[in-house]
């Protein structure tokens, strides 16, 4: 049986009820548009919110944690092997924050094929002296260029030039901290370290992460500046930050490195588990809404096809009388449903894309998100693919039952009934 004839018949039936067919198509178009626009917008927001944390968080962070030694001497005595040993008031053993043999660890990491880049860091608690008041804060000594390349550092420097940080004794202050200190760009501020050293630093920029608490206490300087403030050699490193090629490899690799280097290693998934949960739930909700829209439009198609079949019973009967079998009739109505799905869906995808472009133009400026000027939209082809496939599936299902009914029409009943 030639499909050409079936398509011709389907086309004629659709043209005969052009308005209804059009409305059914509009239903699909609307739902696909909403589906694509909604998912794009939702995921744009998701990506942005995750980016707030994930872009600038190392995938694996190595550090020395100050903690009590888990191997207390009593545990090693064979005499008390089978007893319950309780030691009260255990204190951390003398340990240092800096990582032993940091240069060698960095070299090993850099040669690992899974690693995209490594950046070392020195963090230290300081007091910012403002007149007679001391504000507590943190100075992060960073490798400026690597931090910019790996952890989007530049995105969050809202004023000033981050490259000036490479000069010794310069500092970029968190926006909240700068506001409290009334420190403008170019001003010189005074910092006291925990060891009592006093240093003068020049403010070269502001840093705004979007997380208020963080911006109220944190500031950035080059790693050599911080090492100098602390009076430590260039091998003094408190954190080694690693960015991997594959985010998903972080947990197993953190476990592996923890063993190899004998230091603490945190992976991004463990630290930011709640972000992933939030992202998943938001994605789930947008899929649910999108699919609901499609199902509703599916019912629209179902209704219209059902009506068409009642109106065209004569046509179906005559087609059967002149030799069309049930399958042919079934195919005609499935073709109608799928045509509505394909055309409605394609227009919907296009409009969805345009809606995305539209949303992308809406201004969205907030103090908390310095890098965002308009609503973020994700144009991932995945959503267009899902939308397209789904429009076909729903229209097929919507056409399935009416088509089966049409194919079951007994021509004798119709012709006799006249």
């Amino acid at each position: 049986m030639s499909w050409g004839l079936i398509i011709e018949l389907a086309r004629a039936l659709m043209l005969a009820r052009l308005k209804q067919t059009f409305i059914a198509g509009v239903g699909v178009t609307f739902s696909i548009t909403m589906f694509v626009a909604l998912l794009g917008f939702m995921n744009g927001l998701n990506t942005m919110l995750d980016g707030l944390v994930i872009n600038r968080t190392p995938h694996i962070r190595f550090y020395n944690q100050i903690k009590p030694n888990p191997n207390q001497p009593i545990d090693q005595m064979t005499d008390f092997e089978n007893s319950l040993n309780i030691i009260r008031s255990v204190k951390p053993s003398t340990s240092r924050l800096s990582i032993y043999n940091s240069k060698e660890i960095i070299r090993t990491l850099e040669s690992d094929p899974r690693v995209l880049g490594v950046s070392s860091k020195v963090s230290t608690q300081v007091f910012f002296n403002v007149g007679t008041i001391d504000l507590t804060g943190v100075i992060n000594g960073i490798d400026v260029d690597k931090e910019a390349a790996l952890f989007s550092f530049t995105d969050y420097v809202t004023q000033g030039n981050y490259e000036e940080l490479n000069q010794i004794n310069s500092i970029i202050l968190g926006k909240g901290l700068a506001d409290r200190m009334l420190a403008g760009i170019g001003d010189v501020i005074q910092v006291t370290t925990a060891q009592g050293n006093r240093v003068q630093l020049k403010v070269v920029g502001y840093y705004q992460s979007g997380l208020g608490d963080f911006d109220n206490a944190n500031s950035y300087a080059s790693i050599s500046t911080v090492q100098k403030i602390l009076g430590e050699p260039t091998s003094y490193v408190t954190d080694i930050q690693v960015k991997l090629k594959e985010l998903s490899q972080a947990p197993p690799m953190a476990r592996e490195m923890r063993e190899t280097f004998g230091i603490d290693a945190d992976d991004i998934q463990t630290i930011n588990a709640q972000f992933e949960t939030g992202t998943n739930v938001r994605t789930l909700i947008s899929y649910a809404v999108g699919i609901t829209l499609l199902v509703v439009s599916g019912f629209g198609i179902y209704n219209i096809l059902n009506m068409m079949i009642y109106e065209k019973l004569d046509t179906i009967a005559i087609l059967k009388a002149i030799g069309f079998n049930s399958q042919d009739v079934n195919r005609i109505f499935i073709t109608i449903a799928l045509t509505i799905g394909v055309i409605g869906g394609a227009v919907g995808l296009l409009l969805g894309f345009l809606a995305g472009l539209g949303i992308d133009q809406i201004p969205f400026e907030t103090e908390a998100l310095p890098t965002i000027k308009t609503f973020p939209v994700d144009y991932n082809p995945k959503y267009y693919l899902i939308g397209g496939v789904f429009s076909l599936v729903t229209t097929y299902l919507a056409g399935f039952f009416p088509a089966r009914k049409a194919s079951g029409v007994d021509p004798v009943d119709i012709i006799r009934g006249k």
Binding site: M1, L9, G323, F324, S326, V412
Partner: protein, 229 residues
């Protein structure tokens, strides 16, 4: 048995029951043969079962007892798809209410059974369809939509459509039943012409005595039985 002698259609002991609202027998042991080239009419009062018989013979109604042979082939008990193909290839229909597809032009209406059969290309079919329309002097209406025609014109197109696949047998269900005197005469003369000039085998159910009188043979039915043939 030589080809030209073999009957086109044989009905053997056809019984048919209706179950709604109560079981009633509408056809009782109906049997007859139709030879090639015969123009046969079935007459009888309303409700005597003549239309029911026609639908059974047309293969559209498969719920009956007895046997039907078409072209020496037993068609009782064949699958619906096979029967649909058989109708397409071997049977042409003319109904009381024209039953053209209003969505299509006259020419397309005539072509559709041919397109379905697929023995000829579209161009050839178009040519053949125009020829058939010419027989019935409908060629100038070929590009009109079916619903722009008068009742008599529609019926002429329906006959042209019935002929498109050169069927073994044409069946008519009261083909003049819905037409006025003038149109019904035109349609009758067309049937006559088909019988005489083209030796077309035809089986027509009618309650128009004038129509029946013009056929080669009359099968008369009463209460589900053939009383005279």
């Amino acid at each position: 048995m030589k080809e030209q002698d073999s009957p086109v259609l044989i009905a053997q002991d056809i019984d048919k029951y209706f179950y709604n609202p109560v079981k009633t027998q509408v056809l009782k042991k109906v049997g007859f043969k139709i030879a090639k080239g015969e123009f046969v009419s079935i007459v009888g009062k309303s409700g005597c079962g003549k239309s029911t018989l026609l639908y059974i013979l047309s293969t559209m109604d498969t719920d009956y007892d007895g046997k039907i042979f078409m072209d020496n082939e037993l068609i009782t008990g064949k699958s619906h798809n096979y029967l649909a193909h058989l109708r397409n290839e071997k049977i042409g229909f003319v109904f009381q209410f024209h039953y053209l597809l209003n969505e299509f032009s006259v020419l397309e209406n005539v072509m559709i059974p041919g397109l379905k059969l697929g023995n000829y290309s579209r161009e050839e079919l178009e040519h053949r369809a125009m020829e058939k329309l010419r027989i019935f002097e409908m060629e100038e209406h070929a590009l009109k939509k079916a619903n722009q025609l008068s009742g008599g014109q529609k019926q002429r197109v329906a006959i042209a459509r019935a002929l498109i696949n050169d069927p073994l047998l044409i069946m008519g269900d009261e083909p003049t039943g819905n037409l006025d005197k003038k149109n019904s005469d035109i349609v009758f003369h067309m049937f006559r012409e088909l019988a005489q000039e083209y030796k077309q085998t035809m089986l027509v159910v009618t309650h128009d005595p004038e129509f029946a009188a013009g056929t080669d043979r009359i099968i008369e039915m009463e209460d589900g039985r053939v009383i005279r043939q």
